[in-house]
Subunit: 201 residues, 2 copies
Amino acid sequence: MQHIDATNQHQREIQRAKILDAARKVFAHKGKAATMADVAAEAAVSQGLAYRYFANKEAIFRALIEQALQANPATLSDIQEMPGTPGERLALLVSKLVENRREHPEFHQLLSQVLSDKATSGELRELVRERMQLLQDLMRHLIIEGQASGEVATDDPDQMITAFFACLVGLTRRAIYGPEQFHFPETAILLRILMPSAHQS
Amino acid sequence: MQHIDATNQHQREIQRAKILDAARKVFAHKGKAATMADVAAEAAVSQGLAYRYFANKEAIFRALIEQALQANPATLSDIQEMPGTPGERLALLVSKLVENRREHPEFHQLLSQVLSDKATSGELRELVRERMQLLQDLMRHLIIEGQASGEVATDDPDQMITAFFACLVGLTRRAIYGPEQFHFPETAILLRILMPSAHQS
């Protein structure tokens, strides 16, 4: 019996993961206009089965955001304690952020939706906003240290952060909405937003 | 009679412009989910009146895209013939593009919607795509000239163009969807995407 229970449990986890994978695609492309029927169709399961795992589309959306927050590592704050100069630590943070976007564009598209959609529950939005705030605070800290060491451009840190994240948001949208022949630009190109140019220094 | 006709004509133009102004806001925020009722409410006119000027919301959307294409100057191609080095002409193009986004975020949001929304009529999408292609071709041309003169970063031109326009798309979204305390970054910050960094050169 115990063996059968474990097998069932395993089967349930596989089904749930399959529905979430489908939902991630559907919500990333359609936003909150996505329906339970869209998700079931994409997962190739019946709507009845989808409802056995998730009470409604809000429940799926919440599970997706929780997954997305896990995939977007909070451990980035370790970077602050790493060896190297502030500019090197900033470059490391940028490369981690770019890599994460390149690998998980759908998660990031969902997180952007949460921030721009006033209809999302306040609590969920607060979670996403807090995570975003943590990342931006870390980046601001490294920028200010790097400006002191002469490695980072001397513009207003908040303007550089705005420009850098805007770039990630735009690239995420391109990755999701196409066209097909899209290549994520090299990290070095994006890093220049924060670094002194040859002409200014 | 002629005087009255001219006055009526003038009144009609004012009404039409008022409805279009309202529609620009509504469509930029809600996308194609916007309805004729939303537009009429935003313009503070009756739905009946809105329908006297536009047969349906597709007609409004088309008029908005035509306005947006006019606001997004095709005359930028003149830049290619201007005096100065290729790097200076590229910097001029970038500053015009940034200024245009800063002044007309809603128009650009609508143009992005046309490109990402597969439901928009093929003809309209083709118009927007052509305009975008013209701009990118101009930028590619100046980048390649500027690489030859040593003024521009030596990365793949298409990757730099992708990163630059992604940044504009992300900034446009921030300008539209908030939060309130948003400032468009200085042009010099965005220009660095294309320029050699102090460390690379």
